[in-house]
Amino acid sequence: MTADPNSVSQESITVTTPDANPPLPDSATSSAPAPTVQTEAPSDPTTTTGRAVTLSGLHAYYGTQHAVKGVDLAFSANKVTAIIGPSGCGKSTMVRCINRMHEEIPGARAEGHVLLDDQDVYAPGLDVVSVRRAIGMVFQKPNPFPTMSIFDNVAAGLRLTGSRGTPLKERVERSLVGAGLWDEVKDRLHSPGAGLSGGQQQRLCIARTIAVEPDVILMDEPCSALDPIATLRVEELISELKSRYTIVIVTHNMQQAGRVADSTAFMLNGELVEFGPTSQIFTNPTDERTEQYVSGRFG
């Protein structure tokens, strides 16, 4: 179902030191954020449409509460990276910083750099709308627009951004096919999206996200509201999608991380504890806390 985690090229993975300090190869100390952050060489160019994402010195706050404390992390293009950690460790917050959804919460702010390839998402003067256009997001609870039909839900993003060339209908169909939902809904495209089952709704949301053709898809516990069978469908879908997108998935379910992710990051109390190939994180972690967590001793 998933790609063999061991196939991940080692040089694209950064392993953190136990105290969650500067993780990037060749970078110096955590106190001074590196002006530029190295990104790994692009993967096989024939499959690359996704782009690498690099976080450096990322801090996030809710008012005075410090939720993400200086995370440095590199997500390889066209790979699935899972973020695991106990509730409240800041994993969702960190992911929401990547497409700047974090700042939509009143009182919330973020500091640091998030690079999409070599472009800083937090560059001054950059339009936040264009960031979200390039970095899509799937949320914890399926959230189709309740007033729209299935078709309109998928077309919503396209209508906003203005579909380029290809007719709307084709793009919607392609997205629904891409989300593995086409066969189930093709006869009732104009019935309300809210009438679908939870799992179908979540795949509808994925279709809506891929319709605007982002480079990166962030998934914030996309299966936590779904039953096991629906979860399985979404996980299969994730594995198919990674050929075209870079995927970051937050999950509280370690089995899920093991099934879908090429590499896995473990977070605790707002800090990145360890990052490496999924197999290594689960079988042979270097940090004691990671080991305790993956073996189910806390969290």
Binding site: E111, G112, Q119, V121, Y122, P124, S130, T161, D215
Partner: protein, 299 residues
């Protein structure tokens, strides 16, 4: 986002291209319209307040508050003493009628009726009462209390009854909301102690909800104080000050209504002075209501 500052955006981001000029214009235009709409809504308020102050203060004097209207069209038109006293008495009596009944009905709805069919019917008709125009209440009281002849002619207390009909739905609805906010844990704790329900209501529920009940009653009072229509053919109007609620009574709204229609500068001035007085009285009641609710929230 301090960290961003030391990072100059290298090249104009290609993938993070800014959104189309048309979309940005639409967004700006729509936001501008929303700003403008809100501003537009406040223009009348500013104008009303400005004219009330500039014209009203001019009319104010010691004499203005301490003398009754003379009823003369030439020379000194007199002040508004009888109107102020009349308004205070009529509104206080209306409150004394509406508040106990309103809270009683609300208690029935929250403590006994709950979701029963009868309770829902009562709720429905309370809502219906909210929508009844105030002048229709005036007509009704005229028919029942004056036309029938059993209670004599125009009288201050009949004006109070008409106003209390107006206040009743406001008091009931706001009290129901507040009573529903009393934690059910408190009710259960009381009942589990073996307290009879009436004691529970008197000792626990009413005291807990008291600030909210006071707020709702004060807001209803403020609304009733400005009403003219129900008083037109119930309390009617006389010039002289009276404390006898069985007699015809003057009131501020009626005084203003009658003065507006006199083409006499000094009488119109009195209308502005009376209007400023009335608005200030209503404002004080409203402020008091807010103060009570704020005090209870901080507690």
């Amino acid at each position: 986002m301090n960290a961003v500052d030391d990072m100059t955006a290298p090249t104009p981001p290609s993938r993070l291209a800014p959104i189309s000029a048309r979309r940005r214009r639409t967004d700006k235009f729509a936001r501008g319209m929303l700003w403008a709409g809100t501003g537009l809504a406040l223009v009348p308020l500013a104008l009303v307040v400005y004219y009330l102050l500039s014209r009203g203060l001019r009319a104010w004097s010691w004499h203005f508050f301490t003398s009754d209207p003379t009823g003369r069209f030439i020379g000194d038109p007199g002040g508004i003493k009888s109107a102020i006293i009349g308004t205070v008495l009529i509104v206080l009596l209306a409150t004394a009628i509406a508040v106990p009944i309103g809270i009683g009905v609300a208690l029935y709805l929250t403590e006994y009726g709950k979701r029963s069919r009868f309770a829902n019917t009562v709720r429905y008709f309370i809502d219906v009462m909210t929508g009844v125009p105030s002048i229709v209440f005036g007509l009704f009281i005229y028919i029942v209390l004056i036309l029938s002849g059993t209670f004599g002619g125009f009288a201050g207390w009949k004006g109070s009854v008409a106003l209390s009909l107006l206040m009743l739905p406001v008091v009931t609805r706001s009290s129901e909301v507040v009573l529903n906010l009393v934690p059910s844990g408190l009710r259960e704790a009381g009942l589990a102690l073996g307290a009879p329900r009436w004691r529970l209501i008197l000792r626990v529920i009413l005291p807990t909800a008291l600030p909210g009940l006071v707020t709702g009653s004060l807001l209803a009072l403020a609304r009733a104080a400005g009403e003219t229509a129900p008083l037109l053919f119930t309390a009617f109007a006389v010039n002289a000050t009276t404390f006898n609620m069985g007699q015809q009574m003057n009131s501020l709204p009626i005084q203003i209504f009658n003065d507006v229609r006199q083409a006499q500068d000094r009488i119109v001035d009195r209308a502005w002075g009376a209007a400023l007085t009335l608005v200030l009285m209503i404002l004080i009641a409203t402020l008091l209501a807010r103060l009570v609710s704020r005090r209870s929230r901080t507690k």
